[in-house]
């Protein structure tokens, strides 16, 4: 009667996280596919204006109707996805690389440098992120590159904190001491030992921040601080639709749904990853 406990139940425990990851990855695969192949998929030129085809309803020709300049909403959403995804990935990558590098160095180095950098970071963190984003973009001027920099600055503190605390904890480990005794260079210890150890956590933070980056980008575009016209952005499309909300609500609804789908996809992946990595999470 004394049954042997197989390790199989550990897999089962990850199940809810796994479902979320699979669903999220599936959504994101479709979204990324649509964005990358926008030029092929899009039935119309997203910039082509047509005074004859203004405010067209949903039809076989204009799948999601047209806007006040007769531009095809569906095509504009596909191109908007391109900008949104590119900005989100680029800014998150930028924040991840800078935040992780400076965080690890700061935590590993310790001392006064660490204290000052941390204090500056806390300051950045305490200021309302959206307001900071608005002001930075406004000061840097319009343009996708500036947008990416602004979003990266608001995302920086999360990565910095994460990497720094991981480095602080690892620094005290015996094997890191052993590496030092062996005369390994700091760079080698950081790249070969600290970085791989923190990678899992960094990737989870990155997935969750992708969603935040999409949120920030679309919000800035909604305010009018996104990629400059005539580029189509999801937030900008909502803004245009908002101006015609009483008469043509569809113009605001479709791009809103597009943003929601991207956000839900990213959140599902981030949530699932976090769950699968949380040792306390039990089903």
């Amino acid at each position: 009667m004394s049954a042997v406990v197989t390790p199989r139940h550990r897999v089962a425990r990850l199940a809810p996280g796994r479902i979320a990851i699979v669903a999220g990855v599936a959504i994101m695969a479709v979204v990324i596919f649509a964005a990358v192949f926008a030029p092929i998929i899009a039935p119309h030129d997203p910039y082509a204006q047509s005074m004859l085809a203004r405010f067209r309803p949903v039809s076989a020709e204009y799948w999601l109707g047209t806007d006040q300049f007769g531009r095809d909403t569906f095509s504009r959403i596909l191109y908007g996805l391109q900008i949104t995804l590119w900005t989100a990935f680029a800014s998150t990558a930028l924040a991840m690389v800078c935040g992780t590098a400076i965080g690890i160095l700061s935590g590993y180095h310790g001392g006064r440098v660490d204290r000052w950098v941390s204090a500056a970071n806390d300051l950045l963190m305490s200021f309302p992120q959206m307001v900071a984003g608005i002001i930075i973009v406004a000061l840097l001027g319009p343009g996708i590159t500036n947008l990416i920099i602004a979003i990266a600055i608001t995302a920086f503190p999360a990565f910095y904190r994460m990497a720094r605390s991981a480095a602080l904890a690892l620094r005290e480990r015996d094997y890191i001491d052993a590496c030092r005794v062996l005369g390994y260079s700091d760079i080698r210890i950081i790249v070969r030992h600290l970085l791989p150890e923190t990678l899992d956590d960094i990737i989870i933070v990155a997935t969750l921040w992708l969603a935040t980056a999409v949120r920030t980008e679309s919000s800035l575009a909604f305010i009018g601080l996104g990629a400059p016209p005539p580029a189509a952005t999801l937030g900008g499309l909502v803004r245009d639709g908002f101006d015609n909300l009483l008469d043509y609500p569809g113009l605001a609804i479709w791009p809103s749904l597009a943003i929601l789908i991207v956000m839900i996809g990213l959140n599902l992946v981030g949530d699932g990853l976090r769950d699968a990595n949380d040792p306390r999470a039990t089903a």
Partner: protein, 313 residues
């Protein structure tokens, strides 16, 4: 208690000082001469010099900084470059609207999020838990402007329950003021609710495993009171901490909410200042935001002492 508040405020001074300096620097690293922006490209050198003289821009930077700080200590945020109105007056004019919106938003978020998190924790893996999980995932996925636009569309335009143009009503019209606040506050609260529910659920799961809950069960306390009194009191500590941290996100969302619902407030003022390149107003607004965040952090600490008897003044 008073002594504690005093001490807390003292520790805030360095932070505040740093933010003020940042505000000062921020406005001065802007590319381009504000004189040219305001007076136009065709401005004569004399006019530019006169503008610099008037705004103090001709002085060395450290003197400007010193003047900026001295004015601040006297409670003077300077004068708008465009309208010549005192910045402080403009800020104080709209501050009540932003405060009212933020507080109502926090109220909605906590009032909805906490019960949702509690029922999810009680269900733990059951269908209620799954429903809350999916529901909050949806909540987390709404950028504030998207939910605002959709709410406005559904509740004001389609159903007609709330005024479409919900700009701030005077305090003498309390019902109008409430109706114009309801939808924007719900919007802020809806996004916050998702986070609060998750924080509550997680905290509840931990607390329900603790020894003192076992003690409560051993003395025959009914299950519902164990959850809603014994456990929830402890979970609220986490909720308070979270609310303090979340406030800066909430303020950001309030900017978007103010735009969609066309409410007066700090957010609208920021957008206006940016559009008109009114840098002194912008500088004043950055200071206002910083003070707001700092004050809220202090309030969170106070609140914490109120709910957690272990923290003593």
């Amino acid at each position: 208690m008073l002594r504690f508040v005093g001490q807390r405020l003292l520790t805030l001074i360095p932070t505040l000082f740093a933010v003020l300096t940042l505000a000062f620097v921020l406005v001065r690293i802007v590319p381009g001469d504000p004189a040219l922006i305001i007076l136009g490209d065709q401005a004569t050198p004399e006019a530019i010099a006169k503008f610099h003289e008037q705004t103090g821009l001709s002085k060395p930077i450290w003197q400007q900084y010193l003047a900026f700080l001295t004015q601040l200590i006297q409670g003077d945020l300077g004068v708008s470059m465009i309208s010549n109105r005192p910045v402080l007056t403009s800020v104080l004019e709209v501050l009540p609207y932003t405060l009212e919106l933020s507080l109502a938003g926090v109220f909605v978020g906590v009032a909805l999020g906490v019960p949702l998190g509690v029922v999810a924790a009680r269900s733990n893996g059951g269908w209620v838990d799954w429903f809350v999980r999916i529901f909050t995932l949806g909540g987390l996925s709404f950028p504030a402007f998207v939910s605002a636009v959709l709410m406005l569309l559904v509740f004001s335009v389609m159903l007609g329950w709330f005024p479409v143009i919900a700009s701030g009503k005077p305090i003498t019209d309390p019902w109008g003021r409430f109706m114009s606040l309801a939808l924007p506050a719900t919007n802020l609260g809806f996004v916050m609710m998702a986070y609060v529910a998750r924080v509550t659920r997680g905290g509840m799961m931990n607390v329900l495993r603790s020894d003192y809950i076992r003690t409560a069960r051993a003395k025959g306390v009914p299950a519902s009171r164990i959850v809603w009194k014994h456990a929830l009191r402890n979970v609220l500590l986490a909720v308070v901490t979270f609310t303090g941290l979340y406030f800066s996100v909430l303020i950001g969302n309030s900017v978007l909410t103010e735009i969609v619902f066309n409410r007066p407030g700090l957010g609208k003022l920021v957008i206006g200042a940016l559009e008109r390149r009114d840098y002194t107003l912008l500088q004043g607004l950055v200071v206002a935001y910083a003070v707001l965040v700092v004050v809220v952090n202090a309030l969170t600490d106070l609140c914490y002492r109120f709910v957690d008897p272990r923290v003593k003044a």
